[in-house]
Amino acid sequence: MKADPREPDDSVNLTPTHWLREATTLTVGLTVVAVGVFTTIALLVNLLAPIIPLRIEAEVTEAIWAEVQEYVPKGGEDIVARLDTLVGQLANHWPDREYDFHVAVVEADRPNAFALPGGLIIVTTDLIRIAESENELAFVLGHELGHFHNRDHLKALGRGILFDLALASIGMGAGSMSNLFGSSGLLTSRRFNRRQERAADRFGLELMYEQYATVAGSLDFFEHDLGVTGLSETIADFAGTHPGSTTRIKEMLDFVEEQGWPLDGELLPPVFQESTVSDSRVPE
């Protein structure tokens, strides 16, 4: 017997791998699964949302308005009152509504409007400044009413909750991995997606037609809008919550043509001028 030291094969403990290939496979595979899960969640939510009565959604979210009231800026009360009246008139064409709508005006140097759960519609000062006609504002407000009509808040909330649950179920609660998938979650988003925005556009056009017998002025908002063009518009279109203006305008024009609504007609002076909100009803 003697000792005979030998060197063993050192490669048995290592699995020969192309690291970059493994990284791509894993990432792509997981992203595909994630997108699949998100799509299923979106479909599920779209199926279940109509089951929940609008009244319940309105009651539950109106508590938010009660909370938020004290934070809403108080200035410009006459403008707010006029916008309130305009919204009320438009909402009358939606008899099944269960919401009480409130308008608030916020300082901002971009023209924009938001619908918040609870019946709150926020309009920026820049939007009011830029609006050239009451019709233009009516379209914007009608679009926001469309989000309430389509239960978009409920769906966004549902998607958000289920998305968080799905992540938590694989133990990824608030970790760094969820940030990675969160940014891909932007695309299948928790906020209103492009389909919802399109539907809200159509509802806004409908309300306008009911109110004014014409949809003149509805596209003016987009002509005043951000002015993004070219590559940035494509990127904003892809990743943003509002579809890019050119696509959107085209879709609206197609819809209007389908419905046979007139695109020209008399435009009423905007809300902030001396003359108050028109009392026009559809002349029959």
Partner: protein, 156 residues
């Protein structure tokens, strides 16, 4: 535009650490292989007694230890793997290097003290936790190899 930057920067970091890590790892393996070749004639066993008689001049304890850490890219791979399951291949080189380096250092210490054999080699691993994140992350892994070095008279 910012979305591209938000996605692009981590990607750049991953690629950068992939290349740097790969370079450092292959350098380390080259060094390990050279030193293993240099010490391969040294008898090293992990039980305490030779099954046959030998004449022992001197004995003493020797240790070798090293603390190693992963690179960002390999850690990212491991996190993905933990979700999917299966062999975490990206951690294999790390532990392999650490173990071989620790054993080499122990042997080199034995040689430096004039011994020519090491018996009863034991290996121990401990994880150093990241103290800044409340112990959740891993700052490094320590591998310790220790044994008793002998100077054995010729005739083995």
């Amino acid at each position: 535009m910012d979305q591209l930057i938000i996605l692009g920067f981590p990607l750049f970091l991953l690629l950068l650490t992939y290349f740097i890590g790969r370079h450092l790892e292959s350098n380390h393996y080259k060094s390990i292989r050279e030193r293993e070749a240099a010490t391969k004639d040294m008898v090293a066993i992990n039980f305490p007694r030779f099954p046959f008689d030998v004449e022992i001049e001197r004995a003493g304890m020797v240790m070798g230890s090293v603390v190693v850490s992963h690179d960002h890219f390999k850690r990212f791979l491991a996190q993905l793997r933990i979700i999917v399951g299966g062999r975490i291949k990206s951690y294999e080189p790390l532990l392999d290097r650490a173990r071989r380096e620790a054993v080499l250092r122990m042997k080199e210490q034995a040689l430096a003290r004039g011994h020519n054999t090491v018996v009863n080699i034991r290996l121990e691993t401990s994880r150093l936790a990241n103290s800044r994140r409340g112990g959740k992350g891993t700052a490094g892994v320590e591998m310790l190899a220790y044994g008793t070095a002998l100077t054995v008279r010729e005739g083995l």
